[in-house]
């Protein structure tokens, strides 16, 4: 960067100014990284110290992807780290986030967007970090029976009469148009403004030409319904089926078991899983405050170690432990839904229409494909979507995206935890990324439903590549 700066001293004044800004950002990012690494003791060099804080309370929302926390508890991984953890279900994502911010929770199962949004100040401002990514995939979009009836004739069928998957939103478009023409708002539910589900639902709708609406936080508009054809609003996950049944919303995007619950109750039909919207997309993260990680570095590494071991257990021997995991999750203090409902998706299948059960072996991934490593590129994807829909109201430089990702996604803590587990021969180094060379950016990904390529190293170029959505220079 500095070489390039010297080279360009000859360029025009405006260019110079731009570069200076960039450099400042780069310095800031280096500084945060240095400070960040300073907090982590030399865990790899010597034996990991005792935890500074032993009694912890973690929050979660009743979804199957909270499994690593439940497993780390039930299998005694937390206790083996000397951590005495209480796990408590939270009413909704907002309550959960506030709990972590005000310290009544030490950590929680979070939406990937939550630490990012909190750190940049969209919603409640607080520096939240994540040392551990909890899973890949695991969400679905469900529509009510009524909407499905109207969509189905548009969808191409296979020889046996079952619809061809993945189902694009193109087939929903005529239904939405009909409702709009009749003056009826087309309402859909998602779980939180910065949730993966919001972005996935928006991605799917926009790929099918349905505008999901913009946010304008600088004008105080956080409903996200500006110019919307489909009106999205927040409903807590466990209440999705009931809200759909009541007719308040026509469809929703939510994690499991709440899509399968709709099939079991016979009130709706899941049309697509997020695996088909973006193959192996990052889902939940484990969030703690930056202050916590700073104050209790050993505890932070130890809890990350426990979670890594839980994730390995969940995926090992080709999902052999999943039935046992489902049994644990169906306990009333965890997810609490029926065994069969949870098992449907956790054991590698997904039921669309009643009886139309298909194999989706990677519907829930907890460890394979480096699922637990907090990739910067994952964070940047969420940031680009926040910009696309106006939650970030102004243009940001590419460096801003990199800095924000590095500030929140703490691969350094993950690496420290993984390396100490490798050293103690509890885990195998080949199951992890090569920490010496890992940049934190996944290679460009092409497996999106609309075929757009995502390269995390070029956030602004990616934002400009969408048909529907804000682009560079746009402001509501």
């Amino acid at each position: 960067m500095q070489v390039s700066l010297i080279k360009r001293t000859w360029t025009s004044l405006t260019q110079l100014k731009k570069e200076a800004l960039k450099k400042r950002a780069a310095i800031a990012s280096v500084a945060t990284l240095t400070i960040a690494t300073m907090f982590v003791p030399q865990a790899t060099a010597e034996e990991l110290g005792w935890p500074e804080k032993e009694e912890l309370k973690f929050g979660f929302i009743k979804l199957t992807d909270m499994a690593p926390i439940a497993i780390a508890y039930e299998k005694g991984y937390f206790e083996e780290e000397g951590l005495y953890v209480t796990i408590e279900a939270q009413a909704n994502w907002k309550v959960l986030l506030n709990g972590v911010i005000d310290g009544s929770l030490d950590g929680a199962h979070m939406l990937a967007g939550q630490p990012l949004a909190a750190t940049m100040g969209f919603g409640t401002k607080a520096h939240i970090i994540t040392p551990f990514s909890m899973d890949l995939n695991g969400n679905g979009i469900t529509v009510s029976n009524e909407i499905w009836k109207q969509m189905k004739p548009n969808i191409p069928k296979m020889a046996d009469g079952r619809p061809v998957h993945p189902i694009k939103a193109d087939y929903l478009k005529p239904v939405v148009d009909k409702y709009t023409a009749e003056g009826k708002p087309f309402n859909m539910g998602m779980v939180f403004p910065v949730s993966t589900h919001n972005y996935e639902l928006r991605y799917w709708l926009a790929a099918g030409g349905i505008h999901p609406g913009y946010y304008a936080p600088h004008k105080g508009d956080v409903s996200g319904q500006i110019d919307a054809e489909a009106l999205l609003s927040v409903t807590p996950p466990p209440q999705m089926p009931a809200t759909l049944e009541a007719g308040t919303i026509y469809g929703y995007c939510v994690g499991e078991p709440w899509n399968q619950q709709a099939v079991f109750k016979g009130i709706g039909v899941p049309v697509i899983t997020d695996y088909e919207i973006w193959k192996n997309n990052p889902e939940k993260v484990f969030g703690i405050t930056a202050e916590f990680a700073e104050k209790y570095p050993n505890t932070t590494i130890r809890l990350t170690r426990a979670l890594i071991r839980a994730a390995i257990w969940l995926d090992e021997n080709n999902n052999a432990n999943r039935p046992e995991a489902v049994k644990i999750l169906s306990q009333s203090n965890y997810v609490g839904a029926d065994y069969d409902v949870i098992a449907n998706s956790m054991t590698g299948t997904f039921e669309y229409e009643k009886g139309d059960k298909r194999d989706v072996p990677d519907f829930n991934v907890f460890f394979r494909y480096n699922a637990t490593y907090p990739y910067y590129s994952d964070a940047i994807w969420y940031l680009t979507q926040m910009r696309r829909w106006g939650q970030i109201s102004e243009d940001k430089s590419d460096d801003w995206y990199f800095d924000m990702a590095k500030k929140v996604y703490r691969a350094d803590i993950y690496a420290a935890a993984a390396k100490s587990l490798i050293k103690e021969k509890i885990v195998d180094a080949k199951d992890f990324p090569d920490f010496a060379t890992e940049t934190g950016f996944k290679p460009a990904q092409k497996e999106f439903i609309d075929g757009v390529t995502y390269d995390g190293t070029k956030p602004n170029a990616y934002i400009d590549s969408f048909k529907i959505g804000l682009k560079s220079g746009d402001k509501i």
Binding site: W50, E54, E55, K62, Y73, G76, E79, G82, Y84, V85, T86, I87, A89, Q90, A91, V95, D102, S104, P238, Q239, P241, A242, E245, Q261, K265, G266, I267, S330, Q331, S332, N333, V335, G336, A337, D338, V341
Partner: protein, 321 residues
């Protein structure tokens, strides 16, 4: 049995009493169970059929089994903890071992105990404020007129309106790294207190204000000092009214507590009901129904206990019924 015994008037009255006390309620309960199970069979929800008496009985047993299983897990937890503490001391002699409370889930029975403790604490706190306040208001007409508008204003406020305020105030003021009691407990308790304050204040003040004039005159003749007057004349004379207020309050407190626990996710029976509702498993409705019956039964027991206390301390038997 011969004719003599059957005609014995004493035997007749015993028989009648037995019918009234045992047989009639049993008939009532039997009718209720019959209607319930018939109605339940006809209600289909998205979570399956509405639970009838037999499903509820099954769940009651299941809840008890879960409780026992959880206790075993707790015992194993403490055992592991002691071993771990010992191992750590061997390595790190400066470590001060500490036994931490079991971190597993609260069972249905734990939730009942939590709810009972919360309601009693809130109720006792309210009584400690309301009774002296009620006596002061009852003794002093001017104070009564001054305070009355405030009492009238707050009396009809729903407890749940208080809850957000209480939650915020408690989180702001109750900051401690190692709290003696959890915040959620304080939230529920204070909400309960705020709601069961008013019936006690009003009843006590009315009771105090309507003491027999003769008694007051006796006190005047004897020139009893103010505190002695309260102790010897006012308190004994207004006990029936105070206890009527307390009984009303405890009923309110129990209702409020369940609602507050549900809304604020504070531990207790209310949270149990809400969690089960959120789980939406096929057993959820029968578990909620079990909780409903238990909540009703505990409410009934609390009322009976207050009534007994009232009977014991009250000279005016007419007031207790």
């Amino acid at each position: 049995m011969n004719a003599l015994q059957l005609n014995n008037p004493q035997f007749k009255s015993i028989l009648q009493q037995a019918t009234n006390l045992i047989a009639l309620p049993l008939v009532g309960i039997a009718m209720f169970l019959l209607i319930w199970s018939m109605a339940a069979d006809r209600i289909d929800t998205s979570l399956g059929k509405f639970p009838g008496p037999s499903q509820v009985a099954t769940q009651a047993v299941a809840l008890y089994d879960e409780h026992v299983a959880e206790r075993e897990k707790a015992a194993a937890f403490y055992e592991r903890q002691e071993k771990r503490n010992a191992a750590r001391i061997a390595k790190d002699p400066t470590y001060e071992p500490k036994i931490r409370k079991y971190t597993g889930k609260e069972t249905f029975f734990d939730q009942i105990v939590t709810s009972l403790i919360t309601v009693m604490s809130g109720f006792i706190l309210a009584a400690a404020v309301a009774i002296p306040l009620g006596i002061a208001i009852g003794l002093n007409k001017k104070l009564n007129i001054a305070v009355n508008p405030i009492v009238q204003l707050f009396k009809p406020v729903s407890p749940l309106a208080w809850l957000p305020l209480v939650t915020m105030v408690v989180s702001a003021l109750y900051v401690s790294p190692d709290p003696v009691v959890p915040k959620s407990f304080l939230n529920s308790m204070i909400t309960v207190t705020l709601c069961c304050l008013w019936p006690m204040v009003i009843n006590t003040s009315v009771g105090v204000a309507s003491i027999d004039k003769d008694l007051v005159n006796v006190s005047r003749v004897l020139r009893l000092p103010a505190l002695k007057h309260v102790q010897k004349i006012v308190l004994p004379a207004s006990i029936p009214a105070i206890f009527t207020g307390m009984r009303l309050s405890l009923g309110v407190a129990w209702m409020v507590l369940i609602a507050a626990e549900m809304l604020a996710q504070n531990p207790g029976l209310g949270k149990f009901v809400w969690d089960e509702f959120q789980n939406g498993s096929s057993d959820s409705l029968s578990r909620i129904m079990t909780a409903v019956i238990v909540i009703g039964f505990i409410g009934f027991l609390l009322d009976r206990v207050m009534l007994q206390v009232q009977r014991v301390v009250s000279w005016d038997k007419a007031g207790a019924h």
